[in-house]
Symmetry: C2
Subunit: 348 residues, 2 copies
Amino acid sequence: MKDIREKASIESLGEFGLIDHLTRKIQIRHTSTLRGVGDDAAVLHFGDENVVVTTDLLTEGIHFNLMYVPLKHLGYKAVVVNLSDVYAMNATPRQITVSIALSKRFDLNAVEQLYEGIHMACENYGVDLVGGDTTSSLTGLTISITAIGSAPKEKLVYRSGARVNDLLCVTGDLGGAYMGLQLLERENEVFKVNPKTQPKLEGYDYILQRQLRPEARKDIVEAFRTLGIQPTSMIDISDGLSSEILHLCKNSKLGCHLYEEKIPYDDQTKAMASEMNINPLVAALNGGEDYELLFTLPLSDFDKIKNDPDISVIGHMTSPEEGAMLVTTGGSLIPLVAQGWNHMEKQD
Amino acid sequence: MKDIREKASIESLGEFGLIDHLTRKIQIRHTSTLRGVGDDAAVLHFGDENVVVTTDLLTEGIHFNLMYVPLKHLGYKAVVVNLSDVYAMNATPRQITVSIALSKRFDLNAVEQLYEGIHMACENYGVDLVGGDTTSSLTGLTISITAIGSAPKEKLVYRSGARVNDLLCVTGDLGGAYMGLQLLERENEVFKVNPKTQPKLEGYDYILQRQLRPEARKDIVEAFRTLGIQPTSMIDISDGLSSEILHLCKNSKLGCHLYEEKIPYDDQTKAMASEMNINPLVAALNGGEDYELLFTLPLSDFDKIKNDPDISVIGHMTSPEEGAMLVTTGGSLIPLVAQGWNHMEKQD
């Protein structure tokens, strides 16, 4: 009965009513937000700061599977992946717009769960939800988020500023989100065969959280300010370490050496990789969705980061003729290939 | 054969290749665009100007029907509807981001047509395409566009500034896009029954253009500057005149009198309405998608607009107790109702 009543109520609210309903909890936190939702456009003011803008489009069945992704987590993650792009510019996210298209399958309760995650991400990262669009789709759920941030011009970090001999650094650990996804997909396959089984997820809370509810590295960008660090280039890891390193090399017109033995893994990532007979290196290089920051620093900054347990030096930049190479534990050099998380190809 | 080859080529390009391919024609026109596509985020600078941000999400089968909407027109329109929101703030659009999700049904040629329309709109309105996302969907086409504009703080016009006795004005003519849609849907139904028939579209080029390839009122916002006009409130007509007037009344906490006899129609709108036995008033009030500007002006500005054939005075603002009323040709007062173009309800 509950389901039917709530399905009725999303229709009785209508588009404007639904928008009012979903935006009633909005708090404005930034002085740069002059007007949020409620007019033809939001109005912002950044003064002397530069403005960064990034956007992502997530579609059901391609980017997420609602069989095992809770809507609240999905809303949270959809915001976080955009904020991660803003942090990757060494900027501070300020505002987001959120557009969703929903099929009839989703009731008001479902939309509220999604927005609960969105609002929670806004709160945790201190960003203002300033606009969006709420509409129908014939099938499935689509989420489109645009994030806007700002930074003083001299603080911005591009993919293109790395120099020869710069240290190649990464935050946190890699491959966890990919192994979490493998686990969720395995248990989902088991569930489809026998719906009475309980999924075996115990002991893997960390990699599940990495997949379902990742965080963006706000703390690292804040630490850069505190430590007086200005990376020479930076990118966030959404498509896998290989792909991101190649972006830095291409944009900075350099090569690099990445040391296999230096790549950081969490124990759960290694345990699940072992259980599934997957090389954790593959999860790190090609898995994607870790939302860690990959950046380069001058050698002279090494002292500032060497004691930070959350930053690993994984290699260094070389001249472009040397290419982008993985230096294996055995000492061989293998060219890095951008396998990535190719959503255009995943469809096949 | 052509079809198969091109379907293959979209897959062989991959996500990054497709983005490179689609963004190779991009020109940067604005000094406020410091960096466009190619990094984690675009970088913009607006200095003292305020920034406006608006976004729209369009889904196949809800907002457009590819049976009769050419992809090039769709790309053009998807941009224009967002720019219209920026003009409705009395601001100048500067940048857009474009995200698309595509099912396997679309080949490279289809995507190129869509982007041809997008690039053409960017050129005609002088905006920079600075970012986006290109991904897959399991079914259909989804387009999400975010438009960013700027204006000096004192030039911005909200929905909330109208005062009692202000003139209620509208640009261009109304109801055309709705009648164009009725015509397209009628001919599409005929075609579905008998695919050999040719659609009867002769003599209706104007209303078809209003539906398929609308323009945003850049010229009016420029004319405001030239004529020294600062509207007290403004909104663009996307959901129908009724709905937009009610937004102005609600946000400005006023009532209004809208005079039926003052509503401007094109001859083709009237002719098609007559042919289909539809009251053109309904097309204007509830049809939507005209993308004209609805605004209020102090009486003292009447002389500045009275000779402009593109601006009609259609009523005036009243005290809130009087309500938002349609004054019919016969002199009756009927409360305006927001029927709108409710995409949440269209699904039923």
